[in-house]
Symmetry: C2
Subunit: 111 residues, 2 copies
């Protein structure tokens, strides 16, 4: 087991840029696999494989309509990541930036 299985870990699922790109496209509404293939410019199996991963971690939901399969975003599955990263949010907000500026100023004055 080289790392936590991609298929069971949302953090891993979004580690691949192509999978994030799919989520970004689905943010505008559901798309069929072929529509994704067109917009991504990838081969169909690559798209299906990425969708498979995203589905396994619950990031996308599926609706069948005849031969097409429509995928839609399930943004709620991103919440664990948001919750984790929110703990660090203060580190780049205005208050900390202001503190950094102040420290830098003091540092410059040392010369």
């Amino acid at each position: 087991m080289a790392r936590a299985a991609t298929t069971t870990d949302v953090f891993n699922a979004i580690a691949e840029p192509g999978r994030r790109q799919i989520l970004d496209l689905l943010a505008n509404g559901e798309l069929s696999v072929n529509e994704l293939v067109e917009q991504l410019g990838l081969a169909q199996p690559q798209v299906s494989k990425r969708l498979h991963v995203l589905r396994e971690v619950g990031l996308v939901l599926v609706r069948d309509d005849g031969r097409q399969r429509y995928y839609r975003l399930n943004g709620r599955a991103l919440k664990p990541i948001h919750d984790w990263i929110r703990r660090y949010e203060q580190m780049w907000n205005d208050r900390f930036d202001a503190l950094d500026d102040l420290l830098e100023e003091l540092h410059d004055q040392e010369d």
Copy 2:
């Protein structure tokens, strides 16, 4: 090239739970490698390897003090992830939950 190189991608860097754990520990202040080894209960090389990845993507900064090397968090490097995920934030907030409840209610009434 199996995926985007871990060492140059913050999304990949936080995909591994052990690396996130290190960041969580460093959130309380800087720690030497040995202090991390103790708190993590891992072998020293595993810790150094994880720190190496975190350092390459700029998530940790280093300060040498004699034989010890102190690592500290650079939370700012997490901002790209925060920026990306913020676009989805609305999908699990109260307003959407309320909408979901409403839709579910309407759906129930269909029977």
